[in-house]
Symmetry: C2
Subunit: 225 residues, 2 copies
Amino acid sequence: MDKKEYALVVAGGKGTRMQSSLPKQFIEVNGLPIVMHTLNAFFRYSDKLTVVLVLPEDDFHLWDELVRKYSFTQPVILQKGGDTRFQSVRNGLDKMQGPGLVAIHDGVRPLVNADIIGASFRLAAVHKTAIAAVRLKESLRVTDQDTTHAVDRSKYRLIQTPQTFDLDLIKKAYQTREDPGLTDDASVAERAGHMISLFEGSYENIKVTTPEDLIIAGALLGRRD
Amino acid sequence: MDKKEYALVVAGGKGTRMQSSLPKQFIEVNGLPIVMHTLNAFFRYSDKLTVVLVLPEDDFHLWDELVRKYSFTQPVILQKGGDTRFQSVRNGLDKMQGPGLVAIHDGVRPLVNADIIGASFRLAAVHKTAIAAVRLKESLRVTDQDTTHAVDRSKYRLIQTPQTFDLDLIKKAYQTREDPGLTDDASVAERAGHMISLFEGSYENIKVTTPEDLIIAGALLGRRD
């Protein structure tokens, strides 16, 4: 029997880097708030998916307004975020019951697509972890006091989301104490002793964090239409 | 006395990744071939700069056509490229005489700007090396047999161009034998025993290598006009 599939979309950002009072996940790009592009990608993958959207509680009213304004009819379970991404993910996981698989995804990665999401669930069903990653296009150096040294970039991967897991595994892993070394869900699972499997993400699957990224996301989303 | 300043723009690509018969540096974006956007950025920095453009010899006639078609009047010294980027840079350096400074730059990074170029020359005048670099926005993992491990991304930098050097230093460094570990000019200088100084590049300063990059470069260049 196939395992139940969940998506946990984390949209807790406060928009400080964006020089905007509107949190970046709600900024309209190509006719729709960024986070709605993101959610639509998951519903395009499967309409059987259970989708939990984690937002700061203060933004729940704004979300309701946007749902009306854009006639967004997809079924989304809202959960309140915490002070950090770590806490927001843990809150989101609290809404889910195993056995199952969960794709944890940044709300501000609107260029994810159904192929990537599907690949992550298929790999996680086998290996229990499936992390979207891409090779580095550019040379990499490591800093060391006053100087820097070249490193072999072919051994490194830039990590994206979705990061998809066996639900019981990641719920247990998130019972650990939060610390600054836990920069993403894969590092939480690794801390709990699990092997971390990567799969090929996409260079298009950018995280929208700066004003330039809005221009880029708009151009890439526009090309798809 | 200020040192003489050179730019070495390397445009040797054959366009295989671009699914295009036209080499990528000649593809028109926002009204101008990519490499002409790149060259214009250097001339906006200073009209006293001596600019050497390294192209495959087979593309010299195409370059002449493009110069006429786009009425490109900037003074550019052409040099023929080699079979690899390493050889192309070495050929370009052969056109220059020290003492001086040289900014080596990818022809397919059209979003470089005068501020970045100026910063690279100022730093190289003091430290003899000045490499544009940016921090990683995403988590980084290193691959290791069957699994992967998180690494502290704050210690790493993604390397861009310009990579600017004392001219005598980099000419001597390029007398070394070519090997696959030498992925950029900084690694050539490091091999010769020099300290490598980084400065802050820009996330906009992308290398155009894929069809998606063309869309992104077009959007970013369009916003500037």
